[in-house]
Symmetry: C2
Subunit: 322 residues, 2 copies
Amino acid sequence: MNIEMIRAAATRIHGHALRTPLLNSGFLDEIAGRRIWIKPECLQHTGSFKFRGAYSALSALDPVSRANGVIAFSSGNHAQGVALAARMHGTSAVIIMPSDAPQLKIDNTRAYGAEVVLYKRGGEDRDEIGDRLSRERGLTLVKPFDEPEVIAGQGTTGLEIAQDANAMGITNADVIVCCGGGGLTSGIALALEADAPTLRVRPAEPEGFEDVARSLRSGVIESNAASSGNICDAIITPQPGVIPFPIMKRLCGPGLVISEDEALSAMAQAFLRLKLVAEPGGAAALAAALYRPDEIQGDDVIVTISGGNVDPAMFTRALEQL
Amino acid sequence: MNIEMIRAAATRIHGHALRTPLLNSGFLDEIAGRRIWIKPECLQHTGSFKFRGAYSALSALDPVSRANGVIAFSSGNHAQGVALAARMHGTSAVIIMPSDAPQLKIDNTRAYGAEVVLYKRGGEDRDEIGDRLSRERGLTLVKPFDEPEVIAGQGTTGLEIAQDANAMGITNADVIVCCGGGGLTSGIALALEADAPTLRVRPAEPEGFEDVARSLRSGVIESNAASSGNICDAIITPQPGVIPFPIMKRLCGPGLVISEDEALSAMAQAFLRLKLVAEPGGAAALAAALYRPDEIQGDDVIVTISGGNVDPAMFTRALEQL
C-alpha cells in the first residue's frame, strides 16, 4: 500500500468519479473559530466516497476475474459503490445485505443493477453465504476497507485535497475524516504525506464507537463493545482494519469523538450554510470541527462530508436542531 | 452587452466565486428520459448564482465609486450576493429589503456586513428611500438584472457550462435556466452562443408568473398579473428586464412552465439523488427537465439549480413529496 497505488487509482477513476471542490462558508468559520473547508463527497456518484474505492478496485482487477463478477458485503454505501462500479465496467455484482438495512439503500443497490442477497442478522452466517456464492460463480470479493485497491481509490480524495490546499497556500491545517474501518482515513493520510506533508489527519467517530481513537492511543487494535445503536451507521465498524491501522498509527491522530446530537446539528448546518445533504456518519468530521474547536490545532481545518444517503425522517430530525 | 464583458467578468471573479461542477444521477436520467446534468449554483457563495453578478459589478466599479459604497433593492438572494461582494471588496453596502422578507435572508444579509434598511411593502416608496440614501451618501446602485456587469457575472455560469459540455462532447442539449428578470438566462445564452452554439437556452418559470415565456411568444415585454403568491419567490419578477429581453428574444425559448408541486417534487429529488438543497425557485429548471420531457428536444438536458436559500419548514414540505 503506497502513494504510487493512489496515483494509479487517480488515473483510472479520472473522468468516472466526480472531482469534488472544496467549499467554505464564513458562517461556519465563525462557529469553528477558524477557516473551515469542506470536501463534499456526498456529491460523489452513489452519494458517498465509497464509489472511488469500488471503481478503483473494479478497474484494477484482471479482465477475466472482472468479467466473472464481484461480490461485496455491505448494508449501505459500499454496496451502492460496488454496484454502480460493476455496472460501469459491464460486469455483475452480488451484494449481501442484512435484511434490516434501510430500504432505500437496498432499493438503490438493486437499481444500480446489482443482485441483492438478503440475510438475517444474528441468524444466517453471511460469510458462509458469501463463500458459497463466490465458489459457485467465481466471484471476486471486494472488501470495504481492508483491500489496498479500495484504499487507493479513497486516497484519491486526499490527492484532491492536497492539490486544492496547496493552491490556496493552506499549510497548517487539521484534516478531519469521518472514520469507520479506516479506508478513507488511511488513504487520505498517505496522499497528504506525499503531497501536503504539513497537514495532520484526524479521524472523527461517534461516542461509544471510537475504536480508532482508542486504538491510536493504545497503539494496538481495539474493538467497540457494541456493533450497532448509533445514528452514524455508515461509520460503525467493529474495529480498525488490519491494513489501514498501521498507516493511521504512523500518520494520524489523535482521534476526535462526537455525540449523536452534534452529528445532527452538523447536518443542520450543512443544510443551512452549505446547501448539502449529509447523513449522520457523513457529518461526524464537520461536527468535530464545529463543536470540538479546543481539540484542534490548525489555523485551518478541512473536513470530509463523506456521504449523504439519509432518509427524509432522519433529515427532518436534523432540521429540528435549527 | 457582449461576450467580451462575460470573459472579463470571468477573469475578475476567478478565485473568488466557486467554479461549480456539472453533476448527474442515473436515477434522474430515468425520470427525465434523457441524460440530465445539473449546474449546482446553490453551492455558490451566499447560496445562489447572484454572488457572481454582484462580485462582477463591484469589481467593475471605478475605485472611488466603489469606496463610497453600494446600494441594492432585494428581498433575498441578490441582497446576500451584494452584501458579501461588498465586504470582499472592503466597502459598504446598504440593502433595502421589504420588512416581510424571510427573516433568515435579512439576518444573513446583515451577517455579511450590510446595513439593512427595511421598508413596508405597499406603504413606503422604496425607490424614494433608495434615491435619498444614494444622494446623501454617494452610493452606487447595483441592479439585480438590468445591469450589464451583473449579467456578465451571471454569464460566467454559461462559460463553465460550455467548457464542461464541450469536454464531454454534449452538442445536442436544452439548457434550462430558472428565470426571473432574465439576468442569468441572458448571460448564459450569450456565453453559449460564443462557446457552445448548438445548445439551446430555455427559461423555466412557475405557473402564473410566466412573463418571460409569454413575452418570448408575443415578441414584446409582457407583465405578470400578480406580484407575489408563489413559493418560487426567488424568480418572481413583474416582467423581463429591458436589457435581458432582446438577448433572450434572439437566443432563448420557448419557455417552460412548472407548478408549485413540481418545484417541491424536484427539490425532493435533488435531496434524494443529488444531495443538494434547492429552494423552490432554484428547482424550477430541474422540475421542467423531470416533468415536462415532451417539451424538450435535446438528447441531453442541462439545468441550473440556481439557489438553495430555503427555510427548514419549506424544505420539510418538499420532503413530504417522497
